[in-house]
């Protein structure tokens, strides 16, 4: 076999590995409840329907063959969840980047006292498992009226995104060429040099950081289920969890999961473009 053929076979294997799990679950969204219960399971929907996509958004649907599908009881939660997740993820992304860019610049570029201690403190919070601070957070938020509230979830999500994204960007800033001194000779203040020179140079890193925070916020499940599930402030992960335990409707679960995957897939496209240009894991201090 030629080298080229081997290469394309390997590519095929990688694509199958990537796509089969998606396919096997998401095909359910296009099946009727009757077809889902067939055994052995079908490899593809024999009578594909898009009813689920209407039902989870609260619309009834009549198929061309005259079958009638009722809207899902979870529909209000799904709609509200999509909207809230969008608001939450956008806000988390903006705040995280405004805060993290100067933070990781300071840690990546400047030498100052207590730097390592502070750095370890920030990174420790990356190691913190969500289950262990879940109940204290809940108790705190009930006390101050932030349970069932999007602001509360926003604060919690920031405690996840800020440490993780700073950790990613510190290495990135460290590897930028040393231009601050030149900027200061040109008459910029330190802060001016940071805003006008460093930030534009760091577009790639900042984009990757923003995408990662968006994904974290959009996908956060554990806190969302405990803090906002079933309320006005529900996010899409919490809404989807309703299909898992209270109302097991696989076709609606799959349809709402597809809706929830669209925004992450769109940002992932931009992520792959930028991530390969970014070299964050060079040996430190080099």
């Amino acid at each position: 076999m030629s080298k080229k053929a081997i290469k394309w076979i390997l590519i095929l294997v990688i694509l199958l590995w990537t796509l089969i799990p998606f396919y096997w679950f998401l095909k359910i969204a296009f099946m009727t409840p009757a077809e889902i219960s067939v055994f052995p399971p079908h490899f593809y929907p024999h009578k594909p329907t898009i009813s689920g996509f209407f039902n989870v958004l609260g619309f009834s649907y009549t198929s061309p063959s005259g079958e009638f599908f009722l809207p899902s009881g979870q529909a209000t939660q799904v709609k509200r969840g999509l909207l809230n997740s969008f608001v939450l993820a956008s806000m988390v992304t903006c705040i995280t980047m405004i805060v993290v860019t100067p933070l990781s610049y300071a840690f990546g570029r400047l030498e100052f006292q207590h730097k390592n201690k502070l750095l370890i403190g920030i990174l420790l919070s990356v190691a913190l498992p969500p289950v262990s601070i879940l109940i204290p957070f809940y108790i705190l938020f009930v006390k101050v009226g932030l349970a069932g509230n999007l602001i509360g979830l926003l604060l919690v999500t920031l405690t996840i995104t800020i440490p993780f994204v700073s950790w990613m960007l510190i290495g990135f800033f460290r590897n930028l060429p040393p231009v601050e001194r030149l900027a200061i000779i040109d008459g910029y203040s330190r802060f001016g040099a940071f805003i006008k020179i460093i930030v534009p140079m760091s577009k790639v890193g900042i984009t990757v950081g923003a995408i990662v925070s968006f994904l974290f916020a959009w996908n956060e499940y554990t806190f969302a289920v405990v803090l906002v599930n079933g309320t006005f402030a529900t996010t899409i992960p919490a809404s989807i969890s309703g299909f898992l335990f209270q109302h097991p409707e696989p076709e609606h679960l799959a349809a709402s999961l597809i809706y929830s995957l669209i925004p992450p897939f769109i940002v992932a496209y931009f992520l792959q473009e930028h991530i390969t240009k970014m070299n964050i894991t060079e040996p430190m201090g080099g």
Binding site: I11, P21, L128, V225, A268
Partner: protein, 296 residues
């Protein structure tokens, strides 16, 4: 000269404080309270039924946990899951990176597809793999009805459930590893490969002598990240197996959830979560001491 340097350092410190202090204060208050509460709870017995009551019991929770069989079982499950996740994620991520590095045509579209599992949330990955491996209508069952003798294959059974969880975890995390390693591979100077060509190195020796040294620091970083992410993951396992069958896949995070939420043993659960935190820190620290320090 000395004086000048001192002035400069001071202003560095001030500038750094100006950039970082607000965030650090935010993090300390918003994480500090829950963490402090958890620490307080771990030294108390908290009773909800028949009136809310708390008793200070010192280290009793911590000692009881060490005598609990469930705890040691779940430590074992977590470690097995974590180590297998690292092995699968890094080898699959490295494999994908090496293949993608050889690609000249169709790069963008294949990269865009390959990254999709990473954009998928942990709980979605859990649901997706629950349907792929588990139950009567798993993918292997469907294959066996077409090609084989036609029997029900539930891969989430007690013998293989942890391996299957680790494979799904690797599916979820490997794209990130692959793309960062790919970025690394692209920085390797091409003259090194030209020299390897002159020395007539085969593909394996080329990998070990030229590519691998450039990747070893990234491999250390991702080993640390994957083990931390795997030890602290909860939703992925919760939606996929719920710790089952029985308690076969009950990881430490699941055990903490069960103690705190089902049994309402808040103090006991909090104490257990400090053991988990300790385990995560001990593992990352020893990885750094035995591996990372040499690379850096």
């Amino acid at each position: 000269m000395r004086r000048l340097k001192k002035v400069k350092e001071l202003s560095n410190f001030q500038f750094a404080l100006f950039l970082t202090l607000p965030v650090i204060i935010f993090l300390i208050t918003i994480i500090g309270y829950p963490l402090g509460y958890a620490l307080w709870a771990s030294f108390h017995r908290i009773i909800f039924f028949g009136g809310y009551k708390t008793n200070f019991i010192g280290f009793e929770n911590y000692v009881n946990i060490l005598h609990s069989q469930n705890f040691w079982h779940s430590v074992g499950v977590s470690l097995r899951f974590g180590v297998e996740s690292v092995v699968f994620t890094l080898s699959i991520g490295l494999g994908i990176a090496l293949v993608l590095a050889e690609l000249s045509r169709g790069k963008k579209i294949i990269r865009s597809l390959v990254i999709l599992p990473w954009a998928t949330s942990r709980y979605s990955a859990g649901i997706i793999f629950k349907y792929l491996w588990g139950g009567r209508k798993s993918f292997p069952t469907a294959l066996s009805y077409i090609f084989g003798e036609g029997r029900i294959i539930d891969m989430l059974n007690q013998n293989t459930v942890i391996e299957m969880l680790a494979i799904g975890n690797a599916w979820n995390l490997a794209p990130l590893v692959a793309l960062f390693l790919l970025a690394n591979i692209n920085t390797i100077p091409s003259r090194l490969y030209d020299m390897a060509e002159i020395d007539q190195l085969g593909p394996f020796r080329k990998f070990f002598y030229v590519t691998f040294p450039y990747l070893s620091y990234s491999l250390f970083v991702f080993t640390s990240i994957v083990i931390v992410l795997s030890l602290k993951v909860f939703d992925y396992i919760f939606v996929q197996t719920g710790g089952g069958p029985g308690t076969v896949s009950a990881t430490l995070t699941y055990e903490i959830y069960k103690e705190s939420f089902s049994n309402l043993n808040l103090g006991y659960g909090a104490a257990m979560s400090f053991y988990l935190l300790f385990l995560i820190l001990a593992i990352t620290f020893s990885l750094f001491v035995f591996w990372g320090r040499k690379e850096a």
